[in-house]
């Protein structure tokens, strides 16, 4: 701090016009008609456009089945299956369907897809175009988990980047979050984005991140609404590793609370595409 102040005072008079010029340029580049050149991740490394009807492409997607430990660690109420009733590709979109039905001791069924071991990448631009469901207790997500080194690392050390989370009883708000050691669960670093004059359950919206060394930018549609850097997290930065994608719709759990009498089922999460880009090294 002192150093910078000292430096400023030592600026020769002749440098001032140049500085002003730079300042003017910086100010001008805030205007919306300037093309931002942040999208350096422009080489497609993975894409699923969900163009083939039937089960999701098994070369990209695995499934988590069942209820996990304590409802996937969140007291979630659904049983995940890979039945077409819960997950299917149809008419160009992936459909994850949450149903209210008694199934292996659970009151709801849904689905959770992941690219673990099939597609993993460090850094890049990760985005999906999704139409979300609605109703109290409905908790869909598009998120990334870090590779666990064959089980030698555990959460939250492996790192978690939630590109999109959303609660069905707040249909105009979605949020992006990171979890790591010392900043997980309730202490995670998060920011929400509120749609104006629109909702997430009536049409498709693009949810994405641009993730590089020492930064993760969160955007929804054409709005960059948050940047998280090592300075923002009160613990180790664990986002320099391979991560994989998870797409799921939870029902109930600690965060959303249980569905209520007004929650209608089935609820559907529609994914138009998932695309991942990496740095074009050419």
């Amino acid at each position: 701090m002192n150093k910078i102040t000292a430096y400023k005072f030592k600026l020769p008079a002749i440098a001032l016009p140049s500085l002003l010029l730079v300042l003017a340029f910086v100010a001008a580049s805030c205007s919306t008609d300037q093309t931002q050149t942040v999208a350096t991740f422009n080489k497609l490394s993975m894409a699923d456009e969900f163009d083939v009807d039937g089960a999701p492409n098994s070369s990209i997607w695995n499934f988590d089945i069942g209820t996990g430990q304590n409802g996937w660690g969140n007291n979630e109420l659904q049983y995940y299956t890979n039945r077409p009733e819960n997950v299917v590709v149809q008419n160009g979109v992936l459909i994850i369907t949450a149903r209210e039905e008694n199934f292996n001791g659970s009151a709801y069924t849904s689905a959770r897809l992941l690219t673990k071991g099939k597609f993993q990448q460090q850094y890049g631009r990760w985005e999906a175009r999704i139409r979300l469901p609605y109703g109290k207790g409905i908790w869909p997500a598009f998120w990334l988990l870090g590779d666990d080194k064959n089980g030698t690392e555990i959460w939250p050390e492996i790192g978690e980047i939630d590109i999109m989370e959303y609660l069905g009883d707040e249909p105009t708000r979605a949020f992006g979050t990171v979890h790591g050691p010392g900043y997980s669960a309730g202490e995670s670093i998060s920011k929400s984005y509120q749609l104006q004059n629109d909702r997430f359950d009536t049409g498709f919206h693009v949810f994405g991140i641009e993730w590089g060394p020492e930064y993760i930018n969160f955007y929804i549609n054409d709005v960059l609404y948050n940047q998280i850097t090592p300075e923002d997290v009160p613990g180790e930065w664990v986002f320099d590793d391979d991560f994989y994608i998870i797409l799921n719709m939870a029902v109930g759990g600690t965060l959303p609370g249980a569905p209520n009498a007004e929650t209608t089922f089935p609820q559907r999460m529609l994914v138009d595409y998932v695309r991942v880009y990496e740095m074009n090294k050419n």
Binding site: Y134, D169, N197, R199, D201, T202
Partner: protein, 473 residues
Amino acid sequence: MKNIKLTYTKMTILLGCIFITIASCERELSDEAVFATFPTAPEVFNDSPVGLGTDFYFPYINSKATAWSVDEKESYEGSASMRFDVPNANDPEGSFAGAIFRIDGEGSGRNLTDYDALTFWAKATQSVTIGEIGFGEDFGENKYVVGRKAIDLTTAWKKYIIPIPDPSKLIQERGLLRYSTGSLLGSGYTFWLDEVRYEKLGTLAQPKPKILNGVDVEETTFIGTQINLSERGLTQTFNLPNGVNQEVTAAPSYFTFESSNPEVAIVNELGVVTVLDAGSATITATIAGVKAAGSLTLQSLGNFAEAPVPTRDPANVISIFSDAYTNVPVDYYNGFFTPDGQTTQGGEPPLTLGSGQVINYTQLNFVGIGTFLNVSSIDASQMTHLHVDINVQEAVESGDYITLQLLNSVGNNETSGSVRITDNQLQSNQWVSLDVPLNDFGLANRDKLGLLFFISDNTISNIYVDNIYYYKE
């Protein structure tokens, strides 16, 4: 080169002419055929009424006509708000507050098709639930009436949203605001509305229209029956941006009704079903292409078989309900003792079927015909019998019954007596005429008969009743 160019020019001109000729085949609509357009201004009230003209406030009958005023001491925004002083229940000037705000002038109106809700800020002198606030009532056709019921106000300003069931219908709406509410446990209070306006929120979604309250109802009926669906639970529900599913009542004209069998039953745009022939027809509906939950399936049995026409000398008869006699005044043909567990529907008013009137009680457990509140009670001390014709609209099973009960001097040393009509005295889909000796009721006095009950305790749920009278032999 020149020639070629010229040719192109000619071609262009020729093509142009052809195009103009073709285009000019499209005739414009005549002035008469073009819809008149109406103002689209959103405001109803900011610091004063907006664009309503001079004569716009029309209170409901029996409401306190002075309940509304402009309050320049209170406002959410700006300098004034709408103030509503709800009277005490015993206020001689009116027992409740309620009115419509209608744009002045025949042929006036607003085009509200670009909006999706009526919104306002509101608060009250205490936490209170307002009866109803809405729009679309013009004391004319009232085609597009909407109401949000039971609105909870607090002492702090809060924004409220009343969704428009289908904005495309509101091309010329005069009724921009309506409200109705009563006292709180007899005591009046004050509430305020401010920044009352139509808005395009863009955050109302997941429409869930309903008819018959979302239930699939089946009923037997007869040729000539008319059923007004506006009394049978027409609603629209939107999910609000705060996640709440907000229901509003919606007038029939927001719905597109359909009959599965128009030869048996038809529905008009005002939601009135008319039964035309014997057979089965199911009535369903949509709002803006979204299918409404609930339906009404009618089994029309054809022409209504009327009860036998009574032949007793009118001089010996005290008639409660019969086309053959002059009836004594009654308080009601159904007291709707809902807090006492009554489920029975029907009777208010009686149905007009065939050449006269008949009562159809449905969901019967018990129901009373009253002659003690605002009319003279019946002195049947000179009468010997009670006559009633009953037609059970379902299978009569062993153990079914209808108990007739008489109450004398209701609420004042009241006495009662009853006679049970058992299953072997009743017939399915046929009239039976019952003549019950009044002595069988075991009443010491029958000079102030105030209530006649039909009690089935749910053993029988659907009956037609006609020709209820006392007589002497």
